[in-house]
């Protein structure tokens, strides 16, 4: 699997927020096998330098970072944030979020497409956080995005895949664009289900960070993602309405009256 020409072995992208401690974050990254972690930018004031110690920790893990524009509600905010992120993290990658609705954190897909176009023209490699809407995805690809990240469900909701039909349609429509289910997953079976649809990867944060044991949950998700991907490649059988005996009936002993 490759994002913008960068080959990756792990199909799990991990968020770095909401862990009980920096040590648990570091252990969860290691246990997940993730090669890409998402990071953000926030105001740094006062003497505590919390951003500096966080950055030192991420650097020590040897992982690639995917900065986000979380919290941005306008194209201008998202574009400016992306520029700050590119300088700070020294990467053209940007997980583009332009949020419209605060209750669902649903993307403003109109702003998203516009910001994706501007950032692509400015040399960014955009990972848009979008809905499963096919037309929006098409516009994002037109705008230059070469990865799409549809939500499974609202961020942090742990609801799993809300619209399997829509996600399947997206996969069928974009066979050559890496697709990542980003957001809304709660348990490893959700991630396995996404991978069984043929998705290329899964991006997780809260489901790992807020588990009782984030380090074990990170590993559980990694295994589920690998299993789901392997199952997709193995071509699952089609469901049927009626039972079909798995044991051959030919040659069965005649024991009735």
């Amino acid at each position: 699997m490759a994002f913008y020409g960068v080959d990756l072995k792990s199909r799990l992208l991990l968020g770095t927020a909401r862990y009980p401690s920096p040590k648990i974050l570091a252990d969860a990254i290691q246990s997940s096998g993730a090669e890409v972690v998402t990071v953000s930018l926030r105001r740094e004031s006062g003497p505590e330098r919390s951003g500096q110690s966080f950055w030192a920790l991420v650097r020590s893990m040897g992982v690639r970072v995917l900065p986000n524009t979380a919290g941005c509600h306008s194209v201008k905010e998202a574009v400016t944030t992306a520029h700050m992120a590119r300088e700070l993290f020294d990467t053209p990658w940007i997980k583009l979020e332009v949020i419209r609705d605060d209750d669902t954190l649903q993307p403003d897909v109109f702003g998203l497409v516009e910001a994706a176009r501007i950032l692509t023209e400015e040399g960014f490699e955009v990972f848009p956080y979008t809905t499963e809407d096919l037309s929006v995805a098409d516009r994002l690809v037109e705008a230059g995005s070469r990865v799409l990240m549809p939500w499974g469900a609202p961020i942090g909701s742990a609801r799993g895949l809300n619209n399997v039909y829509g996600l399947k349609a997206l996969r069928a429509h974009f066979p050559d664009i890496p697709l990542v289910v980003d957001a809304g997953l709660g348990v490893p079976s959700h991630a396995a289900a996404a991978m069984e649809l043929g998705y290329d990867a899964v991006l997780l944060n809260t489901a790992v960070a807020e588990a009782g044991d984030p380090v074990a949950m990170a590993k559980a998700f990694a295994l589920a993602i690998e299993a789901g991907h392997m199952a997709f490649k193995a071509q699952p059988m089609e469901p049927r309405d009626m039972a079909v005996p798995s044991t051959p009936t030919i040659g069965r002993a005649a024991l009735g009256d």
Partner: protein, 65 residues
């Protein structure tokens, strides 16, 4: 003169953005900056004058999903 840094009002001496950030204790930190909503690259800070009433945003790496 009075400026705003991450939303807080601060009194600083007139100077460039680079000098102002040093005076505010940001020297040597991994940060990115914007002035009045526009990104200012690290390489442009020493040529960027800070004016009365400017709104400066100073951000650093942070946890994110």
């Amino acid at each position: 003169m009075r400026i705003y840094v991450n939303g807080d009002q601060r009194e600083v001496e007139p100077g460039t953005l680079a000098v102002t950030l040093d005076a505010l204790g940001y020297g040597g930190r991994k940060i990115a900056t914007a002035v009045n909503g526009r990104f200012v690259a690290a390489t442009a800070r020493s040529a960027m004058p800070v004016n009365e009433g400017d709104k400066i945003e100073v951000v650093a790496p942070m946890q994110g999903g």
